[in-house]
Amino acid sequence: MTDFNYDQTLHLKNLLSPDAIAEIDGWIKKYPPERKRPPIIAALKVVQEHNGNYLTEELMQAVAEYLDVPHIAVYEVATFYSMFHLNEVGKHVISVCNNISCSLRGADKVIEHLQNRLNIKVGETTDDGVYTIKTVECMAACGGAPMLEVDKVYHENLTEEKIDQILSDIAAVELNSKEMSNVEAKD
């Protein structure tokens, strides 16, 4: 299964902290040893978190080697789930659902408004590296369509006003943390 020419310096243990490896090992232990594919999602989540919120080919290959599954099995999972980011993203990823329910309830208007406000297109990141807009598949909140998710929080029944509020909340958090770091720098 494994690649014969695999470069050992790219071993997952050399790319992640011992804590992260321990977390992945915990997930592996939850499944019978011959079932190698179930821990892929969990492992990718851990890796993504430890890599500034995105995955690289190198990391995905390392996960595949670590779990002893074909490389392609990891790529399949990583490309299927929209929570995995395959390129560098901003600090706050705004994931807008554009599946059937949200689309019927005006997801395209939500996306348009976000694009106008942030002056970027879907899939792009603002120059300051703060915002990324992404369209995602159904997040099981059809009852509150249209919806978006940002920083692990669902925002439902969106209107332009609500979106503006969400954006200004993020901006406030950003400003706060900037000031905090300025203060720390002065100390």
């Binding site: 299964m1 014969f4 392609i72 099995a73 790529y75 399949e76 490309t79 299927f80 789930y81």
Partner: protein, 730 residues
């Protein structure tokens, strides 16, 4: 297994419990359209094309994933079924481009056929179609992934049959793509089977891309010539030019598959620099001449050298693609002319078994049985690179059985090994002997006194014992010796160990041999120790003696000892030093022109009729698919005429059939006699320097493969000294 009674389209059928509707329908010749279903692959049920109407079920169901039940009444062409089929077809065509006129699959495309047969004539889809970026997956397979309909046959082939999953479905929904994600060359040695599996034009053969249309091609049944299986093939040609080679189904040999080597080797014929006329070297310059002149010169030189040396100084070396007819005629001619120096084993170090063993060498059990072995022990066998399709069979058996290996190299396996020993090359026999000693300890009553004495003092550990125990425990078990063993300096010892271990553990055994016709060459008598069908012969010189000690005269039949023999360097020097070398060859390039004095153009594979005898002892005859180019003639005809010119009697054959029938009669009269070895061979200690370090590369095994352009560009091809001339000669 119980039986149930069902009815399909009014036809009453009996079916096994647990079988799917589509299997039963296929057996009864009732066609149900399908894309994702394939009898050799798992059921995916994702194309939904095989919808049928089952009475009392509210909706149409997929025939590939619906098991039969007692009393089931199925209608494949009811209005409900037709509606479902039309709807599925409309969906499949939503994103499929309408580029059939420029698609290589056009004319033999399942999607095209089924859309005519089962689809509607109008599409209601007016939106934009999606486009998928193409991936370069190597020199063998052309991709056009926009045409892909996501049947996942290629994905399942990799996962289930090959055991190396290179393809997958990335992305989701509208963005789902079949591919390798990261652009990389597919590496498997059976990768091109996905070309046959692909129901559309997404995966097509790159070497034959845009060369011909399916309806222009004629197909001729033939036998593949690069490993000892003798895979059944169809040669597709247009007006005498070979366009491609595809597998011909034979469940007992290649099933429905074909190795990449057998599939693409034909390129050597169409792209290699072919020898088109007989040539004589005069004062160091090659001159074309007619057959008469060339053959007269060969005959007189042969007479002179054989006459002057009492047969000692002339020898014939047969190549790996030589047909049984060619070998039979060559040895008969040579022996009648007064010499026994003929051999095809240019990669054998140990000749001590000559005169013993069986008339043919090979397996003592049908290849199919490999699928269901409980235990398979590989000795010096690199199955994936020697006989790629046997590796697939062994892989099948590992679903429930065990595979074990004693290989003195870091092997690549597409199945899991339960036990693996990796001795040093010169210690292979010693390591293997430990397993026999362990088996003897487990079953002390089986061996005779000589063997027990031989084993005296050999110690074994738990691993050896486990291997022996697995062989004993397995209801069906076998020991396979690979090409590596046949090249080993202790080949005879290892062969004896294997056969003895097989008898102690009630296992089958098999010698996997080099080339496509080792069994045929041996039966034909192209060995210095026996004539045709195991007939007596005075001992002549072996290939090793001929190549390392040097002869005054050589005849090479489709053989390039300077590349393919173990003693390549010595061979080259001795061939250069020889007084006279005649090469019967299909090619004008390589180093043959450097040392030959006469080159006679003979027909290549697929251009001559002949017979290959495979490793199981199956005689497979074939006719020429196309005519040889220029003045090239089938090898058997050249040898027959040469025998006439040597004034030998009994060479009045008018067809290759007469030749093979004569041999067959001789062989059937004696059968496959085995001369048992009474005393075990000596266990010598082999110097590390004298032992074999490598076998011929996957794509180096014979002159044809070495010139097959696309194969030589794959990652599995190793570098080799022959430059491939891309000059078209026809």
């Amino acid at each position: 297994m119980g039986k149930v009674h069902i009815e399909i389209d009014g036809q009453k059928l009996e079916a096994e419990v647990g079988s799917m509707i589509i299997e039963v329908a296929d057996k009864a010749d009732i066609y149900i359209p399908r894309f994702c279903y394939h009898k050799k692959l798992s059921v995916a049920a994702n194309c939904r094309m095989c919808m049928v109407d089952v009475a009392n079920l509210p909706k149409a169901v997929p025939a590939c994933a619906t098991p039969v039940a007692e009393g089931m009444v199925i209608d494949t062409r009811s209005q409900k079924a037709i509606n479902a089929q039309k709807a599925v077809m409309e969906f499949l065509l939503i994103n499929h481009p309408l580029d059939c006129p420029v698609c290589d699959q056009g004319g033999e495309c399942e999607l095209q056929d089924l859309s005519v047969g089962y689809g509607d004539d109008v599409s209601r889809f007016t939106e934009g179609k999606r486009v998928v970026k193409d991936k370069d997956i190597g020199p063998l397979i052309a991709t056009d992934m926009t045409r892909c309909i996501h049947c996942t046959r290629c994905v399942r082939f990799g996962q289930e049959i090959v055991g190396i999953r290179e393809f997958g479905a990335t992305g989701r929904g509208e963005h789902m793509e079949i591919g390798t994600y990261i652009e990389e060359t597919v590496e498997s040695e059976v990768s091109a089977n996905i070309i046959d599996l692909c129901p559309v034009g997404a995966l097509t053969a790159k070497p034959s891309q845009f060369k011909a249309r399916a309806w222009e091609l004629r197909q001729a049944p033939s036998i593949a010539a690069h490993d000892c299986l003798g895979s059944n093939i169809f040669v597709h040609h247009r007006r005498g030019e070979i366009i491609r080679v595809v597998p011909r189904e034979n469940e007992s040999i290649n099933e429905v598959w074909l190795s990449d080597r057998d599939r693409f080797s034909y390129q050597g014929l169409t792209e290699g620099a072919r020898l088109l006329n007989p040539r004589i070297k005069r004062n160091g310059e090659w001159e074309d001449c007619d057959w008469q002149t060339a053959l007269n010169l060969v005959a007189s030189e042969m007479k002179r050298i054989i006459g002057a040396s009492n047969g000692n100084d002339f020898g014939i070396l047969m190549g790996n693609n030589a047909t049984t007819e060619e070998s039979y005629l060559a040895q008969r001619m040579l022996r009648k002319a007064g010499s026994n120096n003929i051999d095809f084993r240019t990669r054998r170090r140990d000749y001590t078994g000559d005169g013993r063993g069986s008339v043919r060498s090979g397996m003592n059990f049908p290849m199919e049985n490999l699928d269901t072995m409980d235990a398979t022990l590989l000795i010096g066998a690199d199955l994936r690179h020697e006989q790629p399709l046997t590796a697939l069979r062994v892989r099948k058996s590992t679903g429930y059985g065990k595979a074990m290996a004693i290989n003195p190299f870091d092997g690549e396996y597409n199945f899991r090994l339960s036990n693996e020993l990796q001795p040093k090359s010169n210690m292979l026999a010693q390591e293997f002997a430990c397993v026999l000693a362990a088996a003897d300890a487990l079953r002390p009553e089986s061996l005779n006194a000589e063997a027990k004495e031989w084993l005296d003092g050999i110690e074994f550990n738990d691993e050896h014992k486990e291997i022996a125990q697995n062989l004993i425990d397995g209801e069906a078990s076998c020991i396979l010796m690979g090409v590596y063993v046949q090249e080993h300096p202790q080949a005879e010892t290892i062969n004896w160990l294997a056969e003895t271990l097989a008898s102690v553990t009630d296992s089958d055994w098999g010698y996997m041999t080099q080339g496509c016709n080792a069994a045929g060459n041996k039966i034909a008598g192209a060995v210095p120790c026996q004539s045709a069908a195991g007939g007596k012969s005075e001992q002549g010189k072996t290939a090793k003696e001929m190549l390392t000690e040097g002869l005054k005269g050589y005849m090479l039949v489709n053989c390039e000892p300077d590349v393919e023999s173990i003693w390549a360097e010595q061979a080259l020097q001795n061939l250069k030093d020889a007084e006279f070398v005649v090469a019967l060859t299909s090619f004008a390039d390589g180093r043959v022109p450097d040392y030959a004095n006469v080159m006679l153009p003979i027909a290549g594979c697929y251009e001559t009729s002949g017979t290959y005898i495979n490793v199981e002892g199956k005689w497979q005859s074939f006719a020429a698919a196309v005519k040889a180019p220029g003045e090239a003639r089938p090898g058997w005809k050249v040898l027959r005429v040469l025998a006439n010119l040597l004034d030998l009697s009994g060479f009045e054959y008018e067809s290759s059939l007469q030749v093979i029938n004569e041999l067959r009669e001789k062989f059937d009269a004696v059968g496959d006699v085995r001369v048992a070895r009474k005393v075990p061979p000596p266990m010598m200690v082999v110097n590390e320097q004298e032992t074999n370090r490598e076998c011929l590369g996957l794509y180096m095994v014979d002159p044809l493969v070495r010139r097959a352009g696309a194969l030589q560009k794959t990652p599995k091809a190793s570098t080799h000294p022959i430059s491939i001339s891309r000059v078209k000669t026809r």
